[in-house]
Subunit: 250 residues, 2 copies
């Protein structure tokens, strides 16, 4: 029990509920509280953290807001299976993009992660730190039921990502690897959508004829690391599978 909690001394860098929120979030991300499990009850946390119950509730409500847990009256706080999509063309798992999940989804890597120079000009404005750090580039194709549906080019500034190019992705997922190995979480997404004609290369990879309409998306992912943004350029074959997106409001 900390004296700082007895004395009314909560003018610290972060309020207590934020600390508790971060503690619980970290334990969820690292699997210490596993999917579907119950968090300690509000009463237990109140005692172990030596705070009022409303402070515990504030922390838990932040976790609900961020999609880490679901609260059930009379039961407890349940750890969600994954952080929910932020609502748009899910960027946590590709399988969500095509809507239903019972489809056979595969990914094949065309260009394994490697450090390259940034393309100039780049499709979003880069800052000096990003430019000088260099760029990790990956190019992948996504399949649904043996059909090529998406060509994905990802650009990551090489900032504090030791051994990124030397390892395999966890479960084949880039974003899962970033989350677990580097504690990088996606907080926000900016994107621009266009309908364009496929050039020869894109057409070949997506099994289309050159000039066929293709949905093109530029993306900028904002992460919990102040200086780290991740960029993607996506080409989607929407002939057979539309790009679905549904937002769940509150």
């Amino acid at each position: 029990m900390k004296i700082s909690n007895i004395v009314k001394n909560y003018k610290l860098a972060h309020p207590h509920y934020i600390k508790l929120y971060n503690n619980l979030k970290r334990q969820i991300i690292h699997g210490i509280f596993s999917e579907g499990a119950l968090l300690p009850s509000e009463n237990e946390l109140r005692i172990s953290e030596n705070v009022a119950r409303s402070t515990v509730r504030q922390a838990l409500n932040e976790l609900v807001k961020d999609g880490y847990i679901t609260k059930k009256k009379g039961l407890g706080s349940i750890v969600n299976s994954r952080v929910k999509s932020l609502g748009l063309l899910s960027f946590k798992g590709f399988s969500d993009v095509v809507g239903e999940t019972n489809r056979n989804v595969k990914t094949s890597i065309i260009t394994p992660p490697a450090i390259i120079d940034w393309e100039q000009p780049f499709f979003y404005q880069l800052n000096k730190k990003e430019l000088s750090a260099g760029c990790i580039y990956v190019e992948r194709i996504r399949f649904v039921n043996e059909d090529q549906v998406m060509l994905e080019q990802t650009y990551i500034p090489n900032i504090n990502l030791q051994q990124f190019c030397e390892q395999d992705f966890i479960n084949g997922s880039l974003f899962r690897t970033l989350s677990i190995t580097y504690h990088i979480e996606i907080n926000d997404l900016v994107q621009d959508l266009r309908a364009i004609e496929a050039d020869n290369r894109v057409a070949r990879y997506l099994n289309l004829s050159a000039g066929a309409p293709v949905l093109h998306i530029y993306r900028k992912y904002i992460t919990n690391r102040e200086d780290l943004r991740i960029y993607s350029s996506l080409f989607c074959n929407t002939k057979k599978y539309a790009i679905g997106s549904n937002y769940r409001h509150s």
Copy 2:
């Protein structure tokens, strides 16, 4: 002052904070608290509603969550200019769709609201009530800086929408009219995106050549009326203006 508040009697249909939330929301929507204005302070609401301050705060935090107000420490609760986009290709105001707001945006109605039979098959599954009610159909073109950027076809089941076809839209906005006149709010959105080739009609309205790539979007809007869904089919000319979308997390 109600006796029911003195006695601990909060097992009513809706908890007090929800009632207060709804009251304030209604007053914001109807312009009784206008854009940029300050709501009564938490302390004033505590007294006028005869509740604890934490109950007031709960109501206000819901309004923040829904984008109706912004709280500023030391200042107060400020009414937002509009309900924020739910994150994707804003469906509250078209001007958000093209990103910046300082562009010259216009709308022209091709087919004024009129009752028609539903197209069969329709692009989303309709239920019996929708089918038997008939359909209000509107077709509009959106301009940005004199360029045609979007052809929008909207389908609304004719359920409790008296005189809808006889009136003009408030500020030219369909959704604003639905909100103010009929108290219909959009809660959720499902959509499917495709890149297609423009047919002759679409090409003509969007000032493109036939066969040019066009971004096509089917939309289903979920509203606060249990039985009312609104449907749209959008054709976007993305030659000059990409469809922007940014999600603001938490």
